[in-house]
């Protein structure tokens, strides 16, 4: 289990419907307040599948020169995000977007910063083939794995077939669906509001976050602090990266990106699609300023008129979203 057992399991119903042995079912433990995620019928979670995916995630075997793994840029101690603006891929290549935090992916309806990829299984292909990341071909990666008796055995046990592209994409997706974080001070506060969990400043920030004064929670809503929408936050007046428009070709989508979740946000700096903001203070200041007035900027982004105390309170609240137990447990999986 990745998180403390505070709720029901998502597999309770699945166990009745599917024929695989009960022992092999991976019991996805959901934190308080989390809904049951929809797991694809062709990739039900089992312990072997998740384990295989975890090995693949932290193994550089999927990159062209075997130097870069998924875990190279999605650091467990950083909430599965990177510490730098643009991650380093094979041969020192630099990416063009900031590596997102891979947390609570089981609920995410679309992937990539622009939301262009519809499934987690499909998303897995992108970093492997991206010349700025792993610079490899999943078919060649599969051939490489075929020479590794461990992966051949585990793939056959998990999926009944060799470690082919189907298995690689399924296993990596299965593992990522188990990366769940929801045991922060905020969650403890939500559960029964003990007075000692949040500091006075954080509690004020909590109220601000969910208030009409900031409207933060209009987009950063729900247990994962995102409504998964694609919006323009007015980071620039002119965008170098066209964002969602890269997928849709619509001018109205220039500068729009998927609203990120905020779980563990205090440890996932730098921020924004291009990692251009280094601190939470800079992020809060950006929103307080009301963005740069880009033509596609969301109407919710407007000058907030926060004073210094209020900005500090907001940051204090965002810091309560850190799930320390998750960070420690995730590191143990590497």
């Amino acid at each position: 289990m990745l998180v403390q057992c505070t709720g029901r399991t998502a597999t309770e119903n699945l166990e009745k419907k599917h024929t695989y042995h009960l022992d092999s079912v991976y019991a996805l433990v959901l934190p308080y307040g989390f809904s049951t995620p929809e797991i694809p019928a062709d990739n039900r979670l089992t312990k072997r599948r998740v384990r295989l995916g975890r090995y693949l995630f932290f193994d550089p075997v999927l990159s062209a020169d075997s130097t870069v793994s998924c875990g190279s840029c999605h650091l467990a101690e950083r909430g599965m995000a990177d510490t730098v603006r643009f991650s380093t891929g094979v041969n020192g290549a630099k990416g063009k977007r900031n590596a997102p935090a891979l947390v609570n992916m089981a609920w995410q309806p679309s992937f990539m910063r622009d939301g262009g990829v519809p499934t987690l299984e499909m998303q897995v292909l992108s970093p492997i083939s991206d010349p700025l990341e792993m610079a490899f071909n999943i078919a060649e990666a599969s051939e490489r794995l075929m020479h590794d008796s461990f992966y051949v055995r585990e793939a056959r046990l998990a999926y009944g077939r060799n470690p082919d592209p189907y298995v690689i994409t399924r296993a990596l997706a299965a593992y990522q669906r188990t990366i769940i974080s929801g045991a922060s001070d905020y969650d403890r506060y939500q559960k029964n509001r003990p007075s000692h969990v949040l500091s006075t400043s954080a509690e004020k920030g909590y109220r601000l976050f969910f208030s009409h004064k900031t409207d933060c929670s209009k987009c950063h809503s729900g247990f994962n602090f995102t409504d998964y929408s694609i919006r323009g936050n007015g980071l620039y007046r002119n965008y170098r990266d066209t964002g969602r428009a890269r997928i849709t070709f619509r001018k109205a989508d220039v500068g729009k990106f998927r609203v990120p979740g905020l779980r563990n946000v205090a440890v996932t700096a730098p921020y924004m699609h291009d990692g251009s903001l280094q601190t939470l203070e800079e992020v809060v200041e950006h929103y307080n300023r009301g963005g740069q007035n880009h033509v596609n900027q969301d109407s919710l982004i407007r000058p907030l008129g926060l004073n210094a105390r209020e900005k500090t309170d907001l940051v204090a609240f965002l810091q309560t979203l850190t799930d320390t137990a998750f960070l420690q447990k995730s590191m143990n999986y590497e």
Binding site: M112, E121, S129, D164, P165, I168
Partner: protein, 264 residues
Amino acid sequence: MCNRYHSFLLVFFLLIGVSCEKENDRDPENEEIAECGNSGPQGTLRLNFHANWGGQNMALNTAYTGAGGYRYNIEMIRFFLSDIRTTDSLETENMVKDIVLMDYNDAVLRIDIPVEAGNYDGIRFAFGVRSDWNHSISPADVAPTHPLGINGNMHWDWSGEYIFIKFEGKADTTATGTGLFDQNMQLHLGNDTLYRERSWTGIPYTIADNQVTAIDFDFDVAAFLTDGTNHLDMKTQNINHTSMSQLPEAILFMNFFSEAFTLQ
């Protein structure tokens, strides 16, 4: 939820299509879903596509003069032909093949499709990948040799979409046409808006049991870059990966490309 369900069914049936190929020891490149349930008398519909360059014989890696007076050396023409349907005099359509990856390396591209015996009146197909397939199928979901599989190398993993056509080569864009072929051409085009359908009716043909019936098409590669009035300038529009700013040229190319196919 409904879309996900449909996507799952689609992938399921594609995989079933692959399993049929294995069971029957057939060539996966020339199989499709529709065959699996076909049990009546059937023959073969053979579609031949004859390449030419402005009416001349055409070969890869050979210099030809074309649009803008430039010289061209074509190295790759790879594209999806999809949703191939027969039509009859009652305008009933039957999809006889879901998708084929056409990779030009010979004078004639040929597809053999098992079709139910009977009388037909027309044929239609499309260039590209149908939107519902384009956004729901991953190369990892199907066999590597499947047209949509890994081996085709026709997928943009960053957007989860297929490249409809790869047109590559080199051009000599010097004014005199005597320079080196040092202008790379790399047109990788794909997007739902670039899907193009063509149909031909009033061409009666009969598919007889265990017989081969051929329909021959010509495609003029020189016409991929021009319609005689407008043309794509390979001096400045030689690289296209269907970005937002490149979409107008991509649309122009796909219009030229689809119209370059004619019935013999």
